[in-house]
């Protein structure tokens, strides 16, 4: 099989995963819940008399990120268990579809649906901000892109964790923990400088292995220009690729 035919298979599986995720009742309820939550955030912003625009935008971005992360983790942690329960995975893996290609298709599909969620949540946030007669700050869209990169990294690692764990709940909790750890990775560097010997080695290794998700929290830096560096984008690509390769290894050994 050629590389192009693999890409075609990935696209077929990704598009299918994307479509399936949008057709679920969960998606509709999630969108309604998200909108209500976004609208309620107006109350919080009203408390800030002089910085309503900033507070409302920040709350909207924070809600976007949390909702999107929860959605992605939920989607990923139940992705394979649902397919195993429904036996739809049998119909895919009994066909000439390499397991690594199947995984790539699923991951791309979940990333597409989270990108779609971010788009919807961004539109909701813009609607809420505009409805208060305020303007949307320039950094809003860069921050939304940052949220997508974070979600993409987390999606990739969540797939790995879901393939290694034995239940949906374990995968969900571990992925959530991973998200939290990703935000404290930047705090490891000062500790590394103080440490020595084995401690130094372990901390350094943690600093490399755990993705630094703070690189993509760009609410403050976006106002000063393009917030992503070549380094941060390359790091995102490497983390996603590394998690994918490990997941593909775990998936190749999984029995159904």
């Amino acid at each position: 099989m050629s590389f192009l035919s693999y890409l075609k298979l990935i696209w077929i599986l990704a598009y299918r995963t994307f479509r399936e995720s949008l057709k679920t009742r969960f998606f509709l309820l999630f969108a309604i819940f998200a909108f209500i939550l976004m609208y309620i955030s107006v109350l919080g912003s009203m408390l800030a008399i002089s910085h309503e625009e900033r507070v409302l935008t920040d709350i909207s971005l924070l809600l976007m990120e949390i909702l999107c992360i929860v959605y992605a983790i939920f989607q990923v942690s139940s992705a394979f268990s649902t397919e195993i329960r429904n036996k739809t995975i049998y119909l895919v893996l009994s066909r000439p579809v390499p397991r690594a290609v199947c995984l790539a298709g699923k991951e791309t599909g979940v990333m597409l649906s989270t990108a779609f969620i971010i788009l919807i949540l961004s539109l909701m946030a813009v609607f809420v901000i505009k409805s208060r007669g305020l303007s949307v700050p320039d950094y809003f869209f860069a921050a939304a892109v940052g949220t997508f990169i974070k979600t993409a990294i987390l999606t990739s690692f969540a797939f790995l964790l879901s393939l290694l764990s034995t239940s949906d709940i374990t995968a969900f909790v571990m992925s959530g923990l991973f998200y939290v750890l990703g935000h404290v990775t930047s705090e490891i560097e000062p500790l590394v400088q103080k440490a020595s010997g084995v401690k130094f080695f372990i901390l350094k290794l943690c600093g490399i292995l755990f993705p630094n998700l703070n690189l993509y929290s760009v609410r403050d830096t976006a106002a000063a220009g393009f917030p992503f560096t070549a380094g941060s984008l390359s790091a995102a690509f490497l983390w996603i690729s590394a998690a994918y390769i490990l997941s593909a290894w775990a998936f190749s050994r999984k029995e159904f």
């Binding site: 298979l9 049998y90 009994s94």
Partner: protein
Amino acid sequence: MGSTTEEKAVVFNNVEKKYTVNRLFGTCEITAFKDLSFSINKGVITGLLGLNGAGKTTILKLTTGLLFCTSGTVSVFGRSPLSLETKKLTGFLPELPYFSPFEKPLDILKYYGALSGMKEPFISKRAEEVLEITGLSPHKEKKTGQFSKGMLQRLGIAQAIMHEPELLILDEPASGLDPLAVRDIRQIISDTAKKGTTVLLSSHSISEVEKICSEVLIMKEGRLARTVQRHEWETGSGLEEIFINTVRTDDNYMSASLRNNRNADTKETVKMDSI
């Protein structure tokens, strides 16, 4: 069995399959079967009969590459069941297949056709053809959420034969269906086999297997208890009698070593039926 390897569609050679089961503390291994050897000739319909837990579905999953054998070898048309070349030649219907309730059968068939490496416009033409074969043409505008169990089973067979496989693997194809649906599905399987497709099916329905198969493998507690050819049940007392006699009296012939192995692996006592 005087056929050469080239004439074999499926060959199991001393296959052992152990499942690892998670416990609260640690894991334990359960042996599904051990030293299982058999072969299936090309172009025949072979049935797998056995009580629950006899290992029928495990055999089908090993043949489709969904499970990996612990030791021994499984080959399909002389190749590993995991190879993409083999999978191109295989069609699989799992027990009680599920399809998205929001989709129409034509879209589902096109999706699975594309995954099997088929290309347009052949995909659309073949999908229409397969709907005709399985009797789903009048329902092609309905979404599968409106389908009955029998219609879903037909759709399951449709996706399995979509890419014209040389080996069709069916897990309980007639399970829970009404008599008319059972007859139709039997007809579809027979017609597919007449075109030269090898069929391997598992079933609990002895009468169905009796009507459709040329050869039957009777599984019991993870081993092949007996292979029965069509002429044996046609000239003898019938397949049901053979099956019941095999699964009951076969305990007397079960080797002590196999019993010991199974006991050791599961850490549990296998209760043997005493006749």
